[in-house]
Amino acid sequence: MKLNEVPAGKKVKVQEYLQKGVFLKLLEMGVLPNATIEILGKAPLGCPIYIAVQDTFIALRKSEAQTLVIQEVQS
């Protein structure tokens, strides 16, 4: 499953980054490889997507969310 397919309120972990650039950008913003990502919500038409990682709130486009293969985390 990709990040953009996850409904709001769920928590996920990234299994695989399909794009190195997105990985690096998120990494610099403090999203370490094993971090838990919470989906906060989406704008109409599913873009952009709002997420929270620890204490950081991040918005990203659907096209970028599509490059993150994720696994749901049971909270």
Binding site: G21, K25, P48, F57, E64
Partner: protein
């Protein structure tokens, strides 16, 4: 002494800069790019003067966008005349781990650093406990804690800067594991380019393509090096970043602890965002904010603007009455004072707009606006933030163009600046209302839609659509400078710091008055000269002819007729008549020709000029001008001159044409190139001409 501020976005860098420098700031551009560069000065306790540069916010020394790229150019250019003696790395104390990444990279470059833990109050309140002396020892750097909202810690920071020279400069820290195998290569590069250490070599090799100070031959050199040595930039960057985070983790685990505390800015922000980012409520509340801003610059600003205009009118008449009748008196009152007046009248609008923008920025809402509008605006090559200038442009293009400064991406900012003048501003309104009242029937469509209101709405929509279309075209032709990614951090909501709001307003007004003001005054003087002088004694001859033709009229009755005749024989009149053959295909005559020229002072001058030409004097109101225009007969057809075709042709011309000296001046100063306003002048006026011509011929 020179220092530079560097830090992550939202680390409070700019308010720290404001705390240090107060009003001693200057805004310029980094060389060659339209990225804003803020510099300023302050004095140390020992009376030494310090020169500060505020660098754009960035997460690392691996930039993704043009404004972040500037940081690298600034730091890595060994010839940079502003090369800092000390770098203040500003970090958000409540998000320290992440903020230390940039710190560790800057430290690897070997610059003397003071680490500033900003927003320390928030960090403490939300439960972070930091062992400062231990952290300082482990990071081998002096640390100062500040709260740039209240100004706490600023004195200590200044003291640390003063004492800094007494500390011994440190050797750059150890070589990263990641680059073990590249050491000989890096040493070779460092020698060739006289670099301080091998981390510089790494960044040169990594970024050579985008470092503006490198020559093409250097770039080729680095390109071959990358290939020959199997240097995979992205892989290495990932490895390096992960290694740094591991090191940081080792350090922070020893001296930072987080306790659970009831105070939690994150949960507060979550609650607000549930509404403000909501698919329906989010956009509706944004609409209300836009409406508020628009009302402010459209309506609230009117009162002070009228007051300023009145004051200048009384100044002008005071000087006219008390100075001898002389060329210099005329130049001063009708040329220069009129110019100053048009500069000063913009101040209320600019101040109000920037008050609002600063508050939106300060609270953290502006980032959300950019994010929410991204999807729509991106289609036109614009930025989510472009919505604010575009809407403001419906009041006035001047504050709107200044507002594009908030857009970080240089290309998106440029496109916004270039298309804003196409939005119908409030100065076009008098022309629209006069012409619509003249040509559109005062009737209802289907019993409830007012034809005249529909026509006005159509004119506004036309402007907006043309602006979006132009943006789309420009997006095609301007070179790509976009961010590779749109991954944006949303700061937590905060109360605005009123000092920062005040400084923003003051700085914007100051830049406008000084930069654009000069140009506006010069153009104003030229326009005055065109309308008041002519070859030889042409104007005196015209006046004499009027007196001869109406020997029975009193002086008061003669004055409007004389003024009309004088304007007709002035340079502007001659120009208007020369223009006639060119604008005739649009349905315009020489009278409109003259008005087009004088409109360059401001579009609403059209009405005043028509009033003078029709012999109604300067004070002719819209209604009497309209009556005069309504009764004018076209000598060729015998029908009313202002037909539907001429009326719409004229309105469309005003909708698209670039005919505002203040816009010209502001675009020139904001883009720092005369090419852009000249381009607007040429393209918009050709566009206006063609659109008017088509309209005229379709409706005729």
């Amino acid at each position: 002494m020179k220092i530079a501020l560097i830090g992550n976005p939202n680390a409070g860098k700019t308010s720290l800069f404001n705390q240090l420098t107060g009003l001693n700031q200057k805004v310029a551009n980094f060389t060659g790019v339209t990225v804003e560069k803020k510099t300023g000065t302050f004095t140390l306790p020992n009376q030494k003067k310090v020169f500060v540069t505020d660098l754009p916010g960035t997460y690392s020394l691996y930039p993704k966008s043009a404004d972040e790229q500037v940081v690298l150019d600034f730091l890595l250019d060994t010839q940079n005349p502003e090369k800092p003696d000390i770098i203040l790395v500003v970090a958000d104390a409540s998000n320290l781990q992440r903020n230390l990444l940039l710190f560790s990279e800057v430290q690897s470059l070997g610059f003397p650093i003071i680490l500033v833990l900003n927003m320390i109050d928030i960090a403490q309140k939300s439960g972070w406990e930091i062992d400062l002396s231990k952290l300082s020892a482990l990071l081998q750097t002096p640390i100062v804690c500040t709260n740039s909202r209240s100004g706490e810690g600023i004195q200590e920071l200044k003291q640390k800067i003063t004492d800094f020279q007494k500390l011994t400069p440190k050797e750059p820290n150890s070589v990263l594991q990641t680059y073990q195998s590249f050491i000989p290569l890096f040493q070779e590069i460092a020698e060739k380019y006289h670099l301080p250490n091998i981390y510089w070599s790494n960044l040169y090799l990594h970024h050579y393509e985008r470092l503006t100070f490198l020559k093409d031959t250097d770039k080729q050199f680095f390109q071959t090096l990358q290939l020959k040595n199997n240097f995979h930039p992205l892989n290495l960057q990932a490895e390096e970043t992960l290694e740094r985070f591991r090191e940081i983790e080792k350090i922070t685990s020893q001296c930072i602890q987080k306790h659970e505390k009831p105070y939690n800015p994150q949960s507060f922000t979550r609650k607000i965002d549930k509404i403000l980012l909501h698919p329906i409520w989010g956009y509706s509340s944004f609409l209300i904010v836009l409406l508020l801003i628009f009302t402010a610059i459209f309506q609230w600003a009117e009162l002070p603007m009228n007051w300023i205009e009145q004051t200048f009118v009384s100044f002008q008449s005071f000087f006219k009455e008390n100075l001898p009748s002389h060329f210099l008196t005329n130049l001063w009152t009708n040329g220069i004072l009129a110019g100053i007046s048009s500069v000063v009248t913009f101040i209320p609008q600019i101040a109000l707009l920037f008050g609002f923008i600063a508050i939106l920025e300060e609270t953290g809402y502006m980032t959300r606006v950019m994010i929410m509008m991204d999807k729509i605006m991106r289609k036109f090559g614009l930025n989510g933030k472009s919505i604010v200038p575009l809407i403001s442009g419906a009041a006035c293009a001047i504050p709107a163009i200044l507002a594009t400064r908030n857009i970080d991406n240089p290309k998106e900012r440029l496109i916004t600046t270039l298309v804003v003048p196409l939005i119908s501003c409030s100065a076009r309104l008098p022309i629209y209302t006069v012409m619509i009242a003249l040509i559109v029937p005062n009737k209802l469509l289907w019993g409830f839609l007012h034809y005249q209101a529909l026509a006005l709405l159509a004119m506004y929509l036309l402007g907006l659509l043309m602006a979006m279309f132009a943006a789309k075209v420009l997006n095609r032709f301007l070179p790509y400078q976009g961010n590779d990614y749109f991954i944006v951090e949303m700061p937590t909501y905060k109360m605005p710091r009123w000092k920062n709001v005040g400084i923003t307003i003051f700085e914007k007004v100051k830049t406008f008055v000084i930069d654009a003001g000069k140009v506006i005054i010069v153009i104003s003087v030229i326009l005055w000269a065109l309308a008041s002088y002519s070859w030889g004694d042409n104007m005196e001859q015209a006046e004499k002819a009027v007196r001869m033709a109406h020997p029975t009229l009193s002086e008061a009755e003669l004055v409007p007729l004389i003024n009309s005749a004088r304007l007709e024989s002035s340079f502007a009149g001659i120009l208007g008549k020369t223009l006639e053959p060119i604008i005739e295909p649009l349905g315009f005559d020489w009278k409109i020709g003259i008005s087009l020229i004088t409109s360059f002072a401001a579009r609403e001058v059209f009405i005043a000029t028509m009033s003078v030409i029709y012999g109604l004097g300067d004070e002719g109101d819209e209604q009497s001008v309209r009556q005069k225009m309504a009764t004018e007969i076209n000598p060729k057809t015998g029908k009313p001159k202002y037909s539907l075709a001429v009326g719409f042709s004229l309105m469309i011309f005003y909708a698209f044409a670039m005919q505002c000296m203040s816009t010209f001046a502001v675009v020139w100063k904001e883009t720092r190139s005369i090419r852009y306003p000249l381009g607007q002048l040429v393209f918009f006026n050709i566009l206006a001409y063609l659109a008017s011509w088509i309209t005229y011929n379709l409706l005729r």
